[in-house]
């Protein structure tokens, strides 16, 4: 049906004016349609394009292809709009690794299971674990021993405070939804499902404020101890299992959170130049 477009090839002159953009659109379009289907003419075009341009483009392709893919958490953080260096720093936190998250999830699950099986009387395990999971996560998210990038972080012109807060937020984002979901499975009144949030959100700033003085490890130990004694004492003392998260106590947590926030703010103000408040 065609007279055979196979035998015909665009002559060099025609291709040159095509590449130079000198052809009108219809002629250009027809050259294009032919070139895209004709091996000989495609090769001819390859020889006519600037070699530097060809190589420069290839260099970019090679780089992209050879670069190892970024780990999932970093890609996730990038997707959320964080710049890549920040994402890398963030993902280096020990508590953002899979193992830690799985551990937190498992202990929370067991605590929930205990509460569920006991019909709400054994609430202590859940109330003990739920606020501590984010606290411990934050505590191991930074500090010289936990951070493989510590040497880099210490020397980089990147606010340490900013990094710590960023990681804290990342930990909260990764732990809180799981806890919230599990909380929904708790027997008893509906408000219980969210009640653990009060101590959880109070203990994190307390930890950060303490860590500024004594370092994250000691601070974590102190917070852990205090919270455990509150929960255990309330159980031993024959109080209602939900006592640690009742309304009056929530007020105390709020006050604690505010106080801790104030301490951090004041120290930040003092140490602004050095950025080492936390």
């Amino acid at each position: 049906m065609t007279t055979g477009t196979q035998g015909w090839h665009a002559d060099p002159e025609l291709l040159a004016s095509y590449l130079a953009g000198d052809l009108d659109a219809i002629t250009g379009a027809s050259v294009e349609q032919h070139v895209s289907r004709c091996e000989t003419c495609r090769t001819a075009v390859s020889h006519m394009l600037e070699p530097q341009l060809v190589e420069r483009t290839w260099a970019g392709i090679r780089d992209a292809v050879e670069r190892p893919p970024l780990p999932v958490p970093i890609r996730l953080a990038r997707r959320l709009g964080l710049p890549e260096p920040t994402a890398v720093l963030l993902a280096a936190a020990a508590s953002l690794r899979g193992a830690w998250l799985v551990g937190a999830f498992l202990s929370l699950s067991f605590a929930t299971l205990a509460a569920y099986v006991s019909g709400g009387t054994a609430l202590a395990p859940f109330l003990l674990v739920a606020p501590l999971a984010p606290v411990l996560g934050v505590a191991v998210a930074y500090g010289p021993r936990q951070d493989p990038l510590e040497a880099l972080v210490a020397t980089a012109p990147f606010g340490r405070t900013r990094l710590i807060l960023l990681r804290t937020i990342a930990v909260l984002v990764s732990v809180l939804p799981v806890t919230a979901l599990l909380g929904l499975a708790l027997p008893g009144p509906r408000w219980l499902a969210a009640a653990w949030l009060g101590p959880a959100l109070a203990l994190v700033p307390v930890l950060l404020a303490l860590a500024g003085f004594v370092g994250p490890r000691v601070a974590a130990a102190v917070v852990l101890l205090v919270w455990s004694s509150v929960v255990v004492a309330s159980t031993r003392g024959g109080l209602d299992p939900a006592w640690p998260v009742e309304a009056a106590q929530q007020g105390v947590y709020l006050a604690l959170a505010v106080a801790a926030g104030a301490v951090i703010a004041v120290r930040l103000g003092i140490d602004r130049q050095r950025g080492v408040a936390l």
Binding site: T5, S17, L23, A29, Q33, R42, V54, I61
Partner: protein, 189 residues
């Protein structure tokens, strides 16, 4: 001397799917240049074109598996490249070129019209002239859908009109071309 390549494009794509970077390079050498040339006619920012060509081959590297063996590699690559460019330029209307069909910019003596017709695979009627008689709205639709291979939806997005408008215009443009091409040859069959 057309040095017929021993390895077909499709085989190279299959090799790329297996992680052969050498095959990627070979495909780039075969297709990079004409893709570049074709894109530069549609975008007046050379940097964007370089990036789009790079994107295209990086996509090829990642998605080589998704190539259907019976298809044509060139057409597939063009589909990736042009869609990349359209989506990249959505926010920058200033650099998109809808080729102007009226201006014969260079000395046209280079090109006998017989060749033009062969190129278009049309053996009767003057398609070039018929295309030139289309209104600008019709031309841009023919350009985007028929020549550049966008779907009517994508063309609508590129041209800033609704998909149905693209369909209607395309339909009318085709009808107009058909009339223009067949009328002078009435009784020729």
């Amino acid at each position: 001397m057309s040095a017929t390549p021993i390895v077909t494009d499709a085989a190279l794509v299959a090799a790329v799917a297996d992680g052969d970077a050498g095959a990627l390079r070979e495909l780039y050498e075969r297709h990079g240049a004409w893709l570049h040339a074709r894109l530069i006619r549609r975008c007046n920012d050379p940097e964007v074109v370089v990036e789009v060509v790079q994107d295209t081959f990086v996509t090829l590297w990642k998605d080589a598996r998704r190539f259907r063996q019976e298809g044509e590699v060139g057409a597939w690559l063009w589909g990736i490249a042009f869609r990349r460019m359209v989506s990249r330029l959505r926010s920058r209307k200033d650099v998109v070129l809808i080729p102007e069909w009226d201006v014969p910019t260079a000395p046209q003596e280079v090109l006998p019209s017989a060749e033009e017709l062969v190129l278009l695979g049309v053996e009767y009627g003057d398609l070039g002239a018929a295309l030139r008689r289309l209104s600008p709205e019709f031309r841009s639709v023919v350009q985007a859908v028929v020549l550049d291979g966008l779907t009517t939806k994508e063309a609508g997005r590129l041209l800033g009109v609704r998909e149905n408008t693209v369909k209607t215009r395309l339909h009318r443009a085709k009808a107009q071309l058909r009339t223009a091409l067949t009328e002078p040859q009435e009784g020729w069959r």
